[in-house]
Symmetry: C2
Subunit: 652 residues, 2 copies
């Protein structure tokens, strides 16, 4: 009873001393000495090799009847520490003259939003990123192991947090949602009707790394509008003659080249505004799962595990590659079964056409779509296992290998049947029908798996917690106390990065760019899907998942490449579809050879034009190029001045 | 009589005070006050905005009866000045631990070849490059015009040398050949027989910027050996069946992809060893011919002429592009005339075949080859004029536009007829014959125009000078005194950069990669040409031309792109040639359509493999990647330390 009272009296007692930004959870059986040691290292001054952060144990919440993990810690930092951390990281902020510059403490008054002591200058996401960076680079000194845990070996220079994570002593480390900001964000994000889909600036403040994904989602959605506008009359007026489809295919070609080029420019603009375009990446630490023989890193000179590259290459090319190929073969096999089923349903319908056999016609496609989703899911786990086993040193290299594996399989799974129908069976009616079924089924499945299922699970947990809390205290205050809030967030699902979201957009882009000339409504469907995606993603980020750490990126990386590869394939596919259309065939009545040669020639020409366009259109808009050049020029001039000063010193 | 004596007594009087590195020639009617002013600015201390270099007027040479330009100046610098200039430029030199680092005066003792006061640490080419840089960045202060030349306007920050050049007050500025070094170089370059073709390290010391071209030439020559080895038996044993040509074409495909990828790695290794891989380019000044309305550069903030980009684009796309297309059309027209002549000669030979009509068969090809060379020459001048008129701000942009124009036309001119014969006429015998004629004629012409003609002209001048000198002095000393040597060099032709040399290699690469499967001897011919090219180029650089300023480059730039484009075209061409071969046609006896579809599919597959290979093979070899990463890591760590120190200062 007393406990409850004291909690209600000072619900934010902790936050009066410092704003908790990041939570850190250790397993409940962590030794007392390990905790003391860790907290001391976190609090220690930087000159002693500490992180110089503020840390406090979370008080036990309500419901002591349940088994609660007491080892939850809240981490914050003083304003001064955050600002020096920002300088350390080379954070780019807006300068007084509107350009973006690397933040420095000595120059802080000249930054645009810096007022007073600098409170509110850094966004919450930036503060959390700084704290994460400082914790990540907290290195062992002369400890040989974590105190009390002899199995968790340490050596000078080893990142402590990563060792705790890899040995399972640390359960997780996650940034906290900021209730007030979140409320404002959710309102402007998915509760307000507006012209632009998303408040990108505000999203960027909260989810720095994911903001570029949301930027891309919004861009892609708007880019689909012209395609959708052109597609609708085709559907409404039932323009089934291929004559008009040729026009549509040509438009399609131009569209997918142009939007990707413009996206690069738009992305550069966004990244510049957000200060991530020219931020230098710190040297990546080995990822937690990486293992090897202890040695010295040739670059940093630090002691760390080394794993021979040749051995990794061997695993990649001799195990992973054959496995992927085998999976592709398996997927091909499944596809063939689907076509047999399809044929069987068709023959049944032809024999004795009733309403039920008409429904039966759709069954194989639906089964196939579901099977594909299941296969994708299984394959995904296998790919993760294999990529883990390949033992990549860097998280980025792990991600790239994983993305490549999953991408190839998903692409094959989703499009192989369509290619087969289009180019082997040459059945445009079936193609249209398959495309529609695939598109709609996978959309519904995706939305369900992605947002509603996690939401429903989270809601159950949430309600349980609420019920427990309200049972124990008066109804007057609907807010959860911080103790409960943190514990609630600790139980939330972890947001696994933008991988699945990009993959979904990639496949949708494929449906539109490859085949929309036979099913013009595809663009409309994808457009609708994107709009709901904006809302479900927003919802997911704000309500369902733990807040993710921001991961500043200057571009969408390997995905840009994937989308461009898709647009090249689109040129080939569209040319082939045009070449196969009876309308075009009519121009070459006497010889198919002439037709094919012309198609191939035009396709090569289009590809050449595409590459030349890519080369001619600068990836970074002129004004930003000038800003970047200006910054570089100034730093060169500063260097020169420094050299001259040094020269004078050496003369003296 | 007295004058002559004093000259002989102290033939290197100047060089006792300083080693002359660069010569500078003003027009003979330059006003005295302009000369005084210029020399004073060159000699002035850096803190007063001078260049702090040593400069001396060249004494009049022998032969006062002739009109000599008295305004020739020799420029040198103190060792200290050169070293600080090297630091200023960010020159990369080999460090004690074998890595390449930016040179700094404070750290000079830790560089590998730094001994004593540092004499001989910088190569002559580097010293000359430093002096050129210092002269180029000698800027006007508050002068409104060059004293005595009111038409040569100046404004604060304007490069003085560039204004003098653009107003024709300065005739030229060129680095001097160093007799002793040159002798050693010429010996090891083209007088000694050796395994590697060229002493690349020594060439690099002397011709820094051109060294990468010589590196490429050597690499390309060695890369041709496997092609040549495979080509010889084809020629010797008269393997005329297309069966074997298919194998050759496949080999060709692999070869041209692999050598370009490996070259990138080799080039990175060379550039790293020479310290140009990661050297930062200084901000480019506007080129001397650039004109516009005076304004402020948005990047540097300096006053300089501005020219609207839109206007330039208009000139490029509305004048230059149509002009190039028109020229291509004209070239096509000439080609058609050639085919008519060819047909006429053939019919004459068929009617009444004699020895002379047999010779006549070769005449059209030879005429065509000569006409092509002439057309190329005329077009070249037009392209230079047009590119000049487009008014590019930067030399690099001017060069790229010029290269593109010349490249397209040359490519078209050289290969259009071959494509026509191969794919429209489908006459492999004629193709082989044309290829041989084109290859041999253009080689002979090139070698003549490039080396022998200039050499002959230079020899005449040289002899005249020698005769004059020997007439006036005793025979004992065969060396020219420095006064005469400098004047002789001032009269030498100017080396116009590696443009023509690269272009030649590009076209030769085209002959080999596109069509060598129908004329396997092409590789052998090109190999022979390359070997003579090494010698004639070496000879040209050492004996015929003024020494060029070095122009450090980290790669071969736009040429890499051009070669890669060529290798893509080679894939297409070779696939088509294979598809057209009767041997392959025999596999698809019933339908041409099947054959074409397969050919196209395989071609697409090969292109995809090519792009994936390009993507997979890292452009920079692993050891160099590690070195670069190490350097970057160290600079990041240093920055961090500095920030921390600053933080401490600000705390104090």
């Amino acid at each position: 009873k007393k406990k409850k009272g004291s909690l209600i009296d000072t619900p934010f007692r902790l936050s009066e001393r410092f704003t908790p930004l990041v939570a850190l959870e250790l397993v409940s059986d962590t030794k007392e000495e390990a905790i003391t040691w860790l907290l001391q290292r976190i609090r220690d001054k930087q000159r002693n090799g500490g992180a110089e952060l503020l840390v406090e144990q979370l008080r036990p919440g309500l419901g002591v009847q349940e088994k609660q993990n007491p080892n939850l810690f809240l981490i914050g930092a003083s304003l001064q520490r955050l600002l020096s951390g920002a300088e350390d990281l080379g954070l780019f902020k807006e300068f007084n003259d509107g350009s973006m510059r690397g933040f420095t403490c000595t120059n802080k008054q000249n930054f645009k939003d810096f007022q007073g002591d600098g409170d509110g200058f850094l966004s919450v996401a930036e503060c959390q990123y700084i704290i994460k960076h400082e914790l990540d680079t907290l290195r062992a000194k002369d400890e040989s192991h974590v105190p009390g845990h002899t199995q968790a070996k340490l050596y000078p220079g080893k990142s402590i947090i990563r060792r705790l994570l890899s040995k399972g002593i640390m359960v997780q480390m996650f940034p906290l949602h900021q209730k007030e900001e979140l409320k404002r964000l959710t309102f402007s994000w998915y509760k307000k009707v507006k012209l632009s889909l998303q408040p990108l600036g505000k999203i960027q403040c909260n989810y720095e790394g994911q903001a570029l994904y949301f930027g891309f989602l919004e861009y892609f959605t708007f880019a689909l509008i012209p395609m959708a506008l052109i597609g609708v009359p085709y559907y409404l007026f039932d323009w089934d003659d291929y004559d008009k489809y040729v026009i549509f295919a040509v438009f399609n070609l131009i569209w997918c080249t142009v939007i990707l080029e413009l996206w690069k420019r738009f992305s550069a603009t966004l990244a510049y505004r957000w200060g991530t375009l020219s931020r230098k990446k710190a040297f990546e630490e080995p990822r937690p799962g990486f293992h090897g023989v202890l040695g010295f890193n040739p670059v940093t000179g630090r002691e760390e595990p080394l794993y021979p590259n040749a051995k990794r290459q061997l695993r990649v090319y001799c195990v992973s590659l054959p496995f992927v190929l085998l999976c592709l073969y398996g997927s091909l096999y499944v596809m063939m079964i689907y076509f047999q089923m399809e044929g069987w349903a068709l023959s049944l319908h032809d024999e004795d056409p009733t309403f039920w056999t008409g429904v039966l016609l759709f069954i194989p496609s639906i089964i196939y779509a579901v099977v594909i989703e299941v296969l994708n899911l299984i394959y995904r786990y296998a790919a993760e296992f294999l990529t883990e086993w390949e033992n990549h040193r860097l998280e980025s290299s792990y991600q790239n290998h994983l993305i490549l594996k999953v991408l190839v399989f998903n692409f094959f799974n989703c499009f192989a049947s369509l290619f087969y129908i289009a180019f082997v069976m040459q059945d445009m009616v079936l193609l249209r029908q398959s495309l529609a079924t695939l598109l709609i089924t996978s959309q519904i499945l995706n939305q369900f798996m992605e947002a509603f299922l996690p939401y429903w699970l989270q809601r159950r947990r949430n309600k349980k917690m609420m019920r427990r809390v309200t049972k124990m205290r008066t109804q007057e205050d609907k807010e959860l106390p911080i103790e409960e809030q943190v514990r609630l967030e600790a139980d939330m699902s972890t947001y696994l990065g933008t991988f699945d979201d990009y993959l979904e957009l990639f496949l949708l882009f494929g449906y539109v760019s490859l085949f929309s000339c036979v099913y013009p409504l595809a663009a409309v469907l994808v457009l609708l899907n994107n709009i709901t995606e904006v809302y479900s993603d927003a919802f997911k980020m704000c309500r369902v998942f733990k807040r993710p750490f921001s991961d500043p990126a200057s571009n969408i990386g390997v995905w840009q490449l994937a989308f461009e590869a898709m647009s090249v394939i689109a040129v080939v596919t569209n040319c082939a579809l045009i070449g196969m259309s009876p309308q075009v065939k009519a121009y070459f009545p006497e010889s198919d050879m002439q037709l094919i040669l012309w198609t191939v020639a035009i396709e090569h020409g289009l590809l050449a034009v595409k590459f030349i366009l890519t080369f001619l259109i600068p990836d970074v808009p002129k004004p930003i190029q000038i800003q970047l050049a200006k910054l570089e020029f100034e730093s060169l001039e500063a260097l020169k001045k420094k050299v001259n000063t040094w020269g004078m010193f050496s003369v003296i």
